[in-house]
């Protein structure tokens, strides 16, 4: 009883402390100044009522409900048979196929905003599966992944600005440049693991961003670089832009209609889809290749790896390099879609978001990452809850920790037939 009273009082005080600043205080603009307004009486009553309710819950109801097992049922959980069937490889393959079909027809039925959000999701899926190689498979906690994303984006933007490269030529170069940076980062951190590695990679991501901001001469500093229309993605030489220089064929000229920006949005979406499908395919194959198994072995036990003749250096560097290249591709596409790259698109919060996608989805699981990316982007984009976005974000994380600490769809071990 005393314990219940203690927990109850603690919860009530905590609730008041948290909800008063969030719900009670308001900033309002008076002339040119901001003014803090106190809470209305009504809000205060609600907060007080909620605090009382939680106190009563702990004092009177909690034990009774816990005893009857009701509290357990309160957490949503799927039936065991369904859960198991979701993890079977052929079921997952069908889900993937279904998702692909939906993704293919999506732009032709969705609104412009829906296609835009879907494109953003695809970018995050790409980043998620790339980071998954480093974090999920090789077990190297990388908090600076956004650095490689930035390298990819700036490679394309700068190649377009100074050398007039188009999207399709810049794409492989962006991937390669990001991979090179991944390789370079890999070297100094070879001996590090866990927390130490996380700090160094975090620093690396910030270094890249700050460097891009301060190399004003080449990168345009905080203003960034914009990508000229003639260097934007084309379909076999056909541009999707409204205004292009002389000599470039545009889609609306070809069709003889007036310009429609929807075509461009759909086109970009399809490019993103193509990139994501390719990335998923490549990584899926990698996971079943000796190198993929070596990554996982490294995550499990580095010393045993060495005792079996695997060179941990090569394995780690390959994970960093290949993981980074996917960020490079994603960055290149991001620059093409945005038309403008600035250092502020590549802040730490992006790294955190990508990492959250990998962890939420279930480390190592591709299907999980696809779902997690969809959930996270949707959370970001819900305008009605804009003010409470971070709150919902945090709440999701806490619920996940309680409900499914191993991620939405944890990775499944492949079943290998001994007699093929």
């Amino acid at each position: 009883m005393t314990r219940n009273l203690k927990t109850g009082l603690f919860s009530a005080v905590l609730l008041m402390l948290i909800s008063y600043p969030i719900l009670g205080l308001k900033l309002s603009v008076v002339g040119i100044r901001l003014q803090v307004e106190g809470a209305s009486a009504e809000t205060l009553w609600i907060i007080g009522g909620a605090a009382l309710a939680i106190l009563l819950w702990h004092l009177l109801l909690r034990d009774r409900l816990l005893g009857s097992g009701l509290a357990k049922a309160a957490l949503p959980s799927l039936p065991e048979g369904f859960k198991h069937s979701m993890t079977l490889p052929h079921v997952q393959r069908w889900i993937m196929f279904g998702l692909l079909v939906i993704a293919l027809v999506w732009p032709f039925f969705g609104t412009r905003a829906a296609v835009d959000i879907a494109t953003l999701m695809l970018i995050y899926i790409m980043l998620g599966v790339g980071l998954n190689i480093v974090v999920g498979l090789a077990g190297l906690l990388d908090l600076g992944y956004v650095g490689f994303y930035a390298v990819g984006a700036y490679t394309y933007a700068m190649l377009a600005e100074y050398a007039g490269f188009g999207f399709w030529t810049a794409l492989p170069i962006a991937g390669l440049t990001a991979a090179t940076f991944g390789f370079l980062l890999g070297f100094p951190v070879l001996r590090l693991r866990g927390d130490y590695l996380a700090i160094v990679t975090l620093g690396f991501g910030e270094i890249i961003r700050i460097m891009l901001r301060n190399l004003t001469e080449y990168t345009g500093g905080p203003n960034g670089i914009s990508v000229a229309n003639e260097n934007k993605p084309t379909l076999f030489g056909i541009s999707f832009e409204r205004r292009v220089p002389e000599g470039v064929q545009t889609l609306h000229d070809l069709l003889g209609t007036s310009y429609n920006s929807m075509y461009k949005v759909i086109f970009l979406y399809l490019i993103a889809l193509l990139l994501v499908v390719l990335a998923l395919f490549v990584i899926n194959r990698l996971m079943r290749m000796p190198i993929g198994r070596a990554w996982e072995a490294l995550r499990e036990d580095e010393i045993a790896c060495r005792a079996l003749g695997l060179n941990p250096t090569t394995v780690k560097l390959s994970a960093f390099t290949i993981g980074a290249s996917f960020a490079g591709f994603a960055g290149c596409f991001f620059a093409a879609r945005q038309g403008l790259v600035t250092p502020e698109s590549f802040t730490f919060i992006e790294s955190a978001m990508i990492l959250a996608i990998v962890v939420l989805g279930g480390m190592g699981s591709q299907l999980g990452i696809i779902f997690a990316a969809a959930v996270m982007v949707m959370l970001q984009e819900i305008r009605d809850f804009n003010e409470y976005r971070m709150l919902i974000f945090g709440l999701t994380m806490i619920l996940m920790m309680i409900w499914r600490p191993q991620g939405l769809i944890p990775m499944q071990r492949p079943h290998l037939e001994l007699k093929p």
Binding site: M289, I291, L308, L418
Partner: protein, 255 residues
């Protein structure tokens, strides 16, 4: 007559002020089971770590088949055919038993990136051979039934056997087992004995063994080295070692 495959002379390992291994010399004949025994803390595992490249020996020479290997990094020594198991089992716990075996074959499989991406016939063949080799050894150590269970969920004895099988996947010439019988019940120890004998007789592997189970050591070893407090104490056939007064003194104390 067999010829020496591993020759260690004057091996020393110093950790700061502690001389853990002091002038150990060993000669291991090919296709024999050689045991290293000694009281706890005698430096047996340290010798193992020096031989397999996990420590860089402070002094001394390690010659493997005519080539000096002391001071090389662990993975290079492993590639020369010296692989080991660990006192506390070190499996890739989240991975299945058969995946554990496939990882160990890394260097024998087709690791070409493009070949794997497009599943070329060469890649498929290499993977199939890897699977066959894995299946063969799973059968040898009697783990075929649990091939697709993750290694961490296996019973302790099974994990021990899987670790030995994993070493065999690298096609070693010398297999070093660090207390393989620790934690096994008498029946499992008998099976282990049969397994080690099989490795030596059928697969021509030289086995270097650290073990405390004297019944096992005495019955299977061709040669025994005794180490006490980092220094070599005696060596010889099981019978010679058993009758050596110094050994008895080290193990049982002054009479």
């Amino acid at each position: 007559m067999s010829r020496p495959i591993l020759q260690v002379s004057d091996l020393s390992m110093r950790f700061g002020g502690l001389l853990a291994v002091n002038g150990v010399s060993l000669t291991v004949q090919e296709k024999q089971v050689v045991s290293m025994i000694g009281p706890n803390g005698a430096g047996k595992t340290t010798v193992f770590n020096c031989l397999t490249g996990f420590y860089k020996p402070t002094a001394g020479k390690v010659v493997l088949g005519g080539e000096e290997i002391q001071g090389l990094p662990g993975h290079k020594i492993a590639r020369k055919g010296v692989v080991r198991t660990f006192q506390n089992v070190r499996l890739f716990k989240e991975m299945t038993a058969v995946e554990n075996l496939l990882v160990a074959q890394h260097r024998h499989l087709n690791t070409n990136f493009l070949a794997g991406l497009f599943k070329t016939p060469a890649f498929r063949r290499s993977e199939r051979e890897g699977m066959e080799h894995a299946a063969y050894w799973l059968d040898k150590v009697n783990l075929t039934d649990v091939a697709n269970r993750s290694a961490g969920t296996l019973a302790y004895g099974q994990q021990r056997r899987l670790e030995i099988a994993r070493c065999m996947m690298t096609r070693p010439s010398i297999l070093m087992l660090d207390e393989p019988a620790a934690g096994l019940n008498p029946r499992e120890t008998e099976d282990l004995k049969a397994l080690i004998a099989m490795l030596r007789d059928e697969h021509g592997v030289t086995v270097l063994l650290i073990e405390h189970d004297m019944k096992l050591v005495m019955s299977i070893s061709d040669h025994i080295f005794v180490i006490n407090q980092g220094t070599p104490l005696a060596d010889g056939t099981p019978q010679q070692v058993r009758d050596n007064p110094d050994v008895i003194k080290a193990y049982l104390g002054e009479a």
